[in-house]
Amino acid sequence: MTAVAASIPPSWYLLLAATMFCVGLLGVLTRRSALYFLMSVELMMNAANINFVAFALYYGDLTGQVFALFVIALAAAEVAIGIGIILVLYRNFGVTDVTVPTEMRW
């Protein structure tokens, strides 16, 4: 017997996730501070998590929720490394502006 039924059609969840993802992407593309950059990346990852959980409910399979857990864990790991990289960036360039280091160019 279905209790927690999926009364909201999954397309709404998908739209919500898409919106969050795009907002996060906009932040990645336009923010100049490295910390805001990281925050936007987090937002993108959580958008994907919403998708996972929505479909886990809809199809009655817990795989989606477990996967979302893993994503959260690895997002944390990634932020740890990311902060370390920002630290080194600051040491070498004096600012945390991501538009300042332009070594990977022609």
Binding site: M1, A3, V4, L25, R31, G60, Q65, F70, I81, T96
Partner: protein, 115 residues
């Protein structure tokens, strides 16, 4: 940390790109067909089942909600988190006077006074 914005003009390309992506994703989402709805059983303990799934106990008759086994992924994620912490600590080390200085080491042994 305030972010100095240079106006919309220099950001037109990212905005267009993001808008296009959103449109595409929305169109895909709205035109997709999903299968039959199945929710979770009402009396199932979700957290317990998540635990069973994490440890790969699916073949023992304890699960009430179907899931895949994630034991290997669990262990690998543990290792990855471990590596991340070590990496973060290493990246944070400073080089001062030719020797590598760890912030923690200095904090614990400087007697509280900072020079």
């Amino acid at each position: 940390m305030s972010d100095s914005s240079s106006g919309v003009g220099s950001r037109i390309v990212p905005v267009i790109a993001v808008a296009a992506l959103f449109v595409v994703m929305a169109l895909t989402a709205l035109s997709a067909e999903f299968g039959a709805v199945t929710g979770f059983p009402a009396d199932a303990s979700i957290v317990h089942n998540i635990g069973y799934a994490l440890f790969g106990l699916g073949e023992y008759d304890v699960t009430t909600v179907p899931a895949e086994g994630f034991l290997a992924a669990f262990l690998i994620a543990a290792v990855a988190l471990d590596v991340a912490v070590d990496g973060a600590v290493y990246l944070a080390k400073r080089e001062e006077d030719g020797s590598i200085v760890a912030a923690v080491g200095q904090a614990l042994t400087d007697g509280g006074d900072r020079q």
